[in-house]
Symmetry: C2
DNA sequence: TCCTTTTAAGACTAATTTGTCTTAAATATA
DNA sequence: TATATTTAAGACAAATTAGTCTTAAAAGGA
């Protein structure tokens, strides 16, 4: 699959958080709504917090929230925070690093396709889905 | 990453095999040339053989070879043989199955991007790389 | 026929990813 | 200030993926 399971969870949670009007949402609410293990999700969201994509607040009324406007949070930034750069700089054949200087045989054909994928991840931001998520007409679990 | 490690190995090996003019190439030669563990590679290539992408021959002068013309072996068929359908029918959020009937919030935006990816995998076949691989000017390992 | 070479099959181990659990630290509020 | 609530951190366990090793089966050639 494209990304790790943790990364998919992160994207789902980010969509959910960004659709809630409250600044701060308890992780327990997210894990209940999305049916993701609370502890595992907590660990994943901590990474987003460390990458300053989310903020967090301890104690009663605590939880996590977006650390910047939804239109400034791209899918790419989430993938980068959870899965690292492998996806972005990796060679299709898993050779050391994709590079124009030392290309593998598929490099020329793969590059434009990857470019489109990156464009999608870069240009796609959380705000684009807020109304869809709020409408509750779209699957967020199972 | 896009595919499993085994799948990347399979693609590399398939490229190598298709570039050799001999019908049959010993797996030991492939594993030496591509610096992939012989036993692991053997297991992976067995899957391609079971999926009728390769043929194999035991004994002296044995090895593996393409089971059909290189232009009929797409990257998609290799990915399918090794990693299964997950990549092709999976939802970007890892929900049960991507479907137009029960879409997730990202479905509409993701679908065309995935379509391009699938087009690439479907339309890209081994014959397109034979001369590049033969020229030995392109990285096949490390 | 017998020996050697090579793939097939599958048990086994190692590494990585995923998931669980416990304890600590922070904070709102009574 | 004391208590309850919530995230942070990290040890630990389970599951999956990656990789190793041994033995069997097939096939060519002496
Ligand atoms: S070097 Fe392989 S895809 Fe660029
Ligand atoms: S249902 Fe999620 S991408 Fe189609």
């Amino acid at each position: 699959m494209l990304f790790s399971k943790a990364c998919h969870y992160a994207i789902r949670a980010a969509l959910y958080i960004s659709s809630r009007s409250e600044n701060i949402v308890p992780i327990r609410e997210i894990s209940d709504e999305l049916e993701i293990s609370f502890h595992f999700l907590t660990k994943i969201l901590q990474q987003l917090t460390r990458h300053h994509i989310l903020t967090s607040l301890k104690g009663p009324k605590g939880g996590v929230g977006l650390n910047k406007p939804a239109e400034e949070i791209s899918l790419k930034s989430i993938v980068l925070a959870i899965d690292g750069q492998d996806f972005f700089e990796g060679c299709l054949l898993r050779l050391d690093k994709c590079s124009d200087a030392h290309p593998c045989p598929i490099h020329d054909e793969w590059k434009p396709v990857r470019r489109q994928l990156l464009n999608f991840l870069e240009s796609t931001t959380l705000d684009q889905f807020q109304s869809k998520v709020k409408s509750k007409k779209f699957r967020m679990k199972v």
